[in-house]
């Protein structure tokens, strides 16, 4: 079917060139909407990744009073180790806590200056067999001699994750509105193209070309715009990944960050959604304005 392919390519190319501005507007809208959608999807991946890893590392912190005696500390550690609810125990002394803080805030002079070696409490970092049993563990130890506070670190993280999820939902809602706008633009572009080519389509109908044969160049034109937008959105996401997340990765070392592989994993979805919505918009536009 060599002539047929040549015909299709020529038609699609001509259609895109004919309304360059309109095509540009369409592609940009598709790009922005899909980039937002991609951000939403990536935030989810990020949160899931951080949640899994951080929850493994940090579950419960039991902060000790500065007045705790060596004996109390040793008894308490034994008590924790023997508790069947507890999976592992790591002791962090005041000195270690200070060193840890210095690592975390290595780039932040102001914080470094503000922290004195004596400021941070010693703590046990405890991971539980079942993290859901925090309340039981807390009530067991909160009155223990030498214990200051029992903190469920998941609370803190969950608040952070909840915030991230809000951002994600926001991004997706905006993305959906943008996608509707993109679909309308594609439908309109196709309408203009269809109008410009109505003589040709009229003859095609007259000589008995099938409806799909008539539709195909228009729909491919829409898909081309949709896929171009998706690829550009993928490029934007990669760019954002390289600049933004790499910076964050250096700043915040204890949180695992998603990387280029995760962006590449999102890309097929963007292409499918961009192409799919464009195809549907083009199809409906043709039904409405070309009667094919």
């Amino acid at each position: 079917m060599a002539p047929r392919w040549r015909y299709l390519l020529a038609e699609v190319g001509m259609g895109l060139r004919r309304n360059l501005l309109m095509t540009l507007a369409t592609v940009v809208t598709v790009t922005v909407s899909l980039a937002l959608l991609g951000v939403g999807m990536l935030i989810r991946t990020q949160v899931d990744l951080a949640r899994t890893i951080l929850f493994q590392e940090v579950e419960v912190s039991i902060f000790l009073l500065d007045s705790v005696t060596e004996q109390q500390r040793a008894d308490f550690e034994k008590e924790l180790t023997n508790n069947p609810q507890v999976e592992s125990v790591i002791y962090e002394s005041k000195e270690q806590a200070y060193e840890h803080a210095q690592q975390i805030f290595a780039d932040d002079e102001a914080v470094l200056d503000a922290i004195e070696p004596d400021d941070l409490p010693a703590s046990f970092r405890v991971s539980l067999v079942n993290p859901e049993n925090f309340d039981v563990v807390r009530s067991q130890y909160v009155e223990y001699p030498g214990v200051d506070e029992v903190v469920d670190q998941r609370d803190t993280l969950d608040r952070f994750f909840a915030l991230m999820n809000q951002v994600r939902r926001g991004a997706i809602v905006v993305a959906i509105f943008q996608l509707i706008a993109a679909a309308a633009l594609i439908a309109n572009t196709i309408r203009i193209t269809a109008f410009a080519r109505r003589d040709q389509t009229g003859i095609m109908k007259l000589v008995g070309a099938t409806n799909w044969y008539i539709r195909l160049p228009f729909i491919l034109e829409g898909i081309a715009a949709g896929v171009a937008g998706a690829l550009l959105a993928g490029g934007l996401l990669l760019l954002g990944m390289v600049t933004l997340v790499s910076g964050m990765r250096e700043q915040i070392q204890f949180v695992p960050f998603i990387g280029i592989p995760q962006v590449l994993a999102v890309l097929p979805w963007l292409v499918a959604i961009g192409g799919g919505i464009a195809a549907i918009a083009a199809f409906l536009s043709l039904r409405r304005f070309l009667d094919v």
């Binding site: 040709q200 000589v207 008995g208 409806n211």
Partner: protein, 228 residues
């Protein structure tokens, strides 16, 4: 080949285009459809290519009962019909050859067949020397010949012509009529809507006259007006 049984058609704006029309056209006939503007000639043709639907009555074209013909089957009906119009409907950015080959390309005919049949049909219509010309470089008569070539290139069983000489001067019209006559002699059924009295009178073929959507005369070897 073409059969209308008690066909009526009223447009949305309550204009009655056809009223209880029954006509039977057999294979190989040459039929003039005459009548004033607005008498229903164009509607008649549009119904045959299923561009419009009748409100009432039955239409059979090339063995297909149009009422039962699903939309996706309409292309197969149109491949058995050729259509020629008053305004030629040529694509201005395509050459003579491309305008004709387009009709075959878009129904998926192989390139080899296209390269064989298009020159043949262009020879037949007398444009064997103008393959590469563009429509705007041709006279009206030549443009209409291209249009006839395009309608005939797929060897349809029926050729429908809606005022094919309406934009042409009398001499040129005679040329087009000779061409249509030649095509008719190959066994192709030709239906031609016209109000060109000269042509109808000189050809002496079957005449179906419409007046306000009704058949008022159906006469073999007829002339344009009554009693001539």
């Amino acid at each position: 080949m073409i059969r209308l049984d008690n066909v009526s058609k009223t447009y949305k704006n309550n204009v009655i285009a056809l009223r209880d029309v029954s006509v039977n056209i057999t294979k190989g006939e040459f039929v003039f459809l005459v009548g004033a503007s607005g008498s229903g000639k164009s509607t008649f043709i549009k119904l045959l290519i299923k561009d419009e639907e009748p409100d009432d009555g039955d239409i059979i074209v090339a063995g297909k009962r149009l009422r039962n013909l699903r939309n996706w089957r309409v292309p197969s009906l149109r491949r058995e019909l050729g259509c020629v119009f008053q305004d030629f409907k040529l694509l201005p950015n395509k050459t003579v050859f491309e305008n004709v080959s387009f009709a075959l390309e878009v129904i998926g005919k192989p390139r080899a067949l296209i390269n064989r049949t298009v020159p043949e049909v262009l020879q037949l219509v007398g444009l064997g020397h103008k393959f590469e010309a563009y429509p705007h470089e041709l006279s009206g008569g030549e443009q209409q010949r291209v249009s006839v070539a395009r309608a005939f290139v797929n060897r349809p069983r029926i050729l429908l012509c809606d005022e094919p000489t309406g934009n042409l001067d009398p001499t040129t019209s005679v040329g087009i009529m000779k061409l249509l006559d030649r095509i008719n002699r190959t066994g192709t059924t030709v239906v031609m809507a016209t109000h060109d009295q000269h042509i109808v009178d000189s050809m002496r073929r079957r005449v179906v006259e419409l007046q306000d959507g009704e058949v008022v005369r159906d006469q073999s070897r007829g002339v344009y007006g009554y009693g001539a």
